[in-house]
Symmetry: C2
Subunit: 340 residues, 2 copies
Amino acid sequence: MTVTVAIDCMGGDHGPEVTVRAALEFVRKHDDVRAILVGIEEKIHPFLGNVDGLSLVVRHASEVVTMDESPALAIRNKKDSSMRVALDLVKSGEADACVSAGNTGALMAISRFVLKMLPGIDRPAICAILPTVSGHVHVLDLGANVDCSPEHLLQFGIMGASLVGAIEHKDRPTVGILNIGEEDIKGNDVVKRAADLLKDSGLNFVGNVEGDGLFKGDAEVVVCDGFVGNVALKASEGLVQMLASFLRQEFGRNLLTRFAALVALPVVRHFKHRVDPRRYNGACLLGLRGIVLKSHGSADVLSFDNALDRAADMVRSGVLERIALRVAQQAGQQANQESI
Amino acid sequence: MTVTVAIDCMGGDHGPEVTVRAALEFVRKHDDVRAILVGIEEKIHPFLGNVDGLSLVVRHASEVVTMDESPALAIRNKKDSSMRVALDLVKSGEADACVSAGNTGALMAISRFVLKMLPGIDRPAICAILPTVSGHVHVLDLGANVDCSPEHLLQFGIMGASLVGAIEHKDRPTVGILNIGEEDIKGNDVVKRAADLLKDSGLNFVGNVEGDGLFKGDAEVVVCDGFVGNVALKASEGLVQMLASFLRQEFGRNLLTRFAALVALPVVRHFKHRVDPRRYNGACLLGLRGIVLKSHGSADVLSFDNALDRAADMVRSGVLERIALRVAQQAGQQANQESI
């Protein structure tokens, strides 16, 4: 089986300079992948070089969705944007997945418009991976839905568990719900009702996970509404940046501290590698009839390449089918319960 | 003027061992303070030693509110708890402030029951200080209110700005609202309406602050509902703990890395001091007719002592009067607008 990934080469802060280079890296690394580079041909070619024998093609798209463009306008006016054409390729079956570092809102809206939702899922959710003390955690939603019903949060749990189940070959990954205390009585009404639904869902539900529990690895999948998830994710990013800048300041203070920095360099490098956000790049938009990955806008080649790898992994492991199956089971279970 | 602080000596994970020692430190350090140590006398005395000439007294209280006790039961059944008696001392005017490391929910509920709310404020809010790249930020609410109306968020803004204005002698501290994007159209309905209220409030409102903006110092006061605030705060704590444990692991890997740790020790110490959560201990419960500080339950002596210092600062700078005045102005302003 060959995995074909459609790449929106125009998205992101750096455009083709990053996306095309990452695509080359991606097809060189894997025997079973093929890349369709979508975007303005003359902007893509300078970064291509000699592509003899490489499993990639360029598909011209004349327009670009800008980073601050309204999603509604992008759908209506830019039918030949690199983002839209890449998603059309997934829709038509020419590609198995789409990866973009472009405007998140537009990617969300166009994906939904072009690919439609999986049956039984009301809203797409953004799911990303965060490092934990003992490994990593999948968190969703991270910003697609600012208001969620308990049913939406249940659907997020099902999708997240299906994703981790498929990719990490786990039978029943643990699922938690982000809350402000460990006890059942804590939290707002939506969260309490969602917890009740999750308890009865057949998922391996472990209950409430507090903010610090995210990084303690309290659950393999954590669900939350997009507002809370987005704030927690960005606060974490901001905190890491602050700590990094403090460390740089402290190590740069004088000759002695600079010497210390030199001695500590290998340790600091190891440490940085462990928490390098580039290794966690590639949030998936779950709930669509197709695989769509959103890369960080500021991604570099290594980072964007990780998003491409993640997309290929999702295709190989049959995530979509697994989600669809699990949602259908859930619907059957509910119908069963209602008929009893 | 002497500032009298009533200390709930029985609260927190370590009880009198920490609270009494911190109280001794506190009265030794300041000429203008007096401490009332509230709790079970025979548990307090072993940690007191010679108190000749020190400005402190012990007030016996026979009961203790436990960490997992229901706030409603604590109000009803424990009228002689150290927490309740300390708050009664504020109510009667014998003390100017109360500091407790005990059960947050109970402290919240008993404070509200004993002290009542300031006129014009509907709900108390928990306000804490977080470090930023350029200084620090006051954030509220951090968990007292899981659901907030736009009016509540406006009140938080007024209280936060009054607090910073009084303590840091700032005329018009900047106020932001925690949101998932910088643009006005972002966020849920409550946040958008709250932003409109804040814009018209006369506060120095700087608009939306994203999660990472918290630590970038985008505003001096940031308001949010207690659910989001609590998750962001605890996620940050969890992340710092994870990074610290990773650093320890990396520096402990082998002989070479242990040598590096030794060389880097002074730098790491400096760094740790800058982000030491103990320096930021002491969240205030704003909106009450009295000054109440909540210390972290796991606080050590240094940490609890910081909370005592913060309480004394709040009394000295007349925070309560400033909040009351600002709320009254706001009410006048609104009445004015409505009559136009």
